[in-house]
Each structure stands twice: as C-alpha cells, then as structure tokens.
Symmetry: C2
Subunit: 169 residues, 2 copies
C-alpha cells in the first residue's frame, strides 16, 4: 500500500514497520501499521497504513508534563479515511463500528478524507478512524508523540509503542 501511494522506505525502515494491535489480538479489525520517520521533543511525523475497514480505536491525547496534549494533522495519501471526533454526530455513519467493541466508540462527528485532504485534531479531543473499503495511507504530522500516555475509551487497551517511536531529544 505504501508503494501504491508512491512512498519509498529505506530497507531498514521496511524491516521496522510497526504493527499496532493495541493488545486486543484482532489486528484486521482494530489496529494499524505505521512507520515513525522522526519523533523529537518538538515534532513528529509518521506514515500510517490502514487495511480495508481496519480501525484505530477511540482515544485522546491528554496533557503531558505541563505541555498541552498532542496536536495532530492527518493527511490522506491513498484510499479513503473515515475520521470521527467529538461534535454533532453524523446521521448515517459511513464506518463500520468494530463488532463486539461498540461500547468503546462514542464520538461520531464524521470527517471523510480523500487523497490530498487533511484534518487537524485539537488536543484532548476523543477520536477514532477507519480505512475505507480499499484501506488508506495517511501521513500524520504532529507535536511530540507520547503514545504511552494516550487514553483509550476501551480501558483494556495498553498502547506500548516500539522503540522506533522513542522521542529523540
């Protein structure tokens, strides 16, 4: 999918694609694949891959160490992304809420992103997102990524980022 999006990785990066299943053991339904290009104490950039209908579970980014929570911009590169944030719920939600996890999806203000379209999520805002019927490649530009602080609606989720996401200071 990255190749189809025209995104070139080094060989080292290709071998370090992170598979995040959020400890739920049902990657095709709830999870995502990612490459962290850079994560410093000032900014972060990643490439996210979502398979068809794969969902990144609902969460928010709280303040950490006196800094406001993570601010992030999602830019769709390939496919289609259904993004949900706090606000007026869509009357007809286009995503398919992952079965048996319905209780953990509570915000339904819908933003649909096609290639070239982007959306910036304010700090502390609950959000979740799903790849469309063909999946999606999404660039994420953000403030520092401290995934271990993320608060998931499903309290069973523990997000332990791998070392490639460590903050470089």
């Amino acid at each position: 999918m990255l190749e189809r999006a025209g995104i070139v990785l080094t060989e080292a990066e290709s071998e370090q694609i992170e598979i995040a299943d959020f400890g739920l053991g049902r990657l095709p339904l709830e999870g995502l694949q990612l490459i962290t290009y850079i994560n410093t104490d000032r900014y972060c950039a990643k490439e996210l891959v979502l398979f068809p209908r794969q969902t990144c579970p609902e969460h928010l980014h709280p303040p950490v160490g006196g800094e406001p929570g993570k601010l992030e911009t999602f830019r769709c590169r390939l496919g289609q992304v259904f993004l949900y944030v706090e606000g007026e719920p869509a009357s007809d939600v286009q995503a398919v809420v992952p079965e048996e996890s319905e209780a953990y999806y509570t915000v339904f203000h819908e933003i649909v992103l096609h290639p070239g379209e982007q959306y910036t999520i304010p700090p502390g805002t609950k959000h979740w997102f799903q790849g469309g019927p063909e999946g999606a490649v999404v660039s994420e530009f953000s403030s520092t990524s401290r995934d271990e602080s993320d608060i998931f609606t499903n309290l069973a989720i523990v997000r332990m980022p791998d070392e490639s996401e460590e903050v470089i200071t």
Copy 2:
C-alpha cells in the same frame, strides 16, 4: 514533479503553490517551490520541489521569542538532494554552487539524500541544498516555521513567506 512523486494536492493547494525566489530574481538558479500543509505554533509540514540544480540559498534558523531555532527534517521523496551543513567539508562537492553567488555559500559538509533517506538539521546550523540533475521532491517536517526570521548568508535576501505559511495558533 509532485505527481511523479505520487503526491496528491487538492485543487485549492495546486493553485497556491508558493514560488520563493528570495527576492533575487533568478528562480531557476536560486529558489524553490513549496506547499505548506500545516504550520501551527507546535509543528510544521511542507512539501518542497527543487528543479534540476535549483538551490535553496544558505541560511540558518535563529532562536525566536525564547524558543530555540527551527529544527527540521528533510526527507527525500523523488530525485536526489545535495544538502550542505556546517562541519568537515567534502573534498569534492557534488552540487554546483550558483554562479555569481559563490561568496554566499560557506558550508560544505555534504549529505546526499535519495528517495526514502532523511536528515535532521539542528537549530542554528547554516545549511543550503540543491536538487540533483533530475531535481527533487522533499518533505519537510519541522518545528514552527517562522521564515521571516531566517538569517541568510547573502544579506540581500529577504524571505517574505506568503500567507499560506502563516502560523495557525
């Protein structure tokens, strides 16, 4: 070139590609083309296009308002970039220093980036870069962009970013 790199822009973005000639009036030699996706008070992301042998003139990013200077990561997406920073000079510089501007290029520690390769430039470090024989597309991930504060070695240069680069707070 963006299309060749697989990068999709919205129609509005396509109409707002910024042409930066740094007030020198010799764009093919010294200048670049860019799209600013997002510039907040926490991070910035841009796409840069360099035509073959087109050069972004030597400059550095000083501290602004108590914050350290801009930290930036260049990731090559297409073509080849010759990047020069402070440090041990290359014995055989691969870039062609723009004629009649030789006095304004003073750092020659060479980094060559191919697609998928990236380099992070520390704040306050003099740097310049040039597209290779086929030009280059480069993603820039960085802390907040405040181009009007940049210090160019050529004091004739005034960098006035257009409004698309304004910081969103």
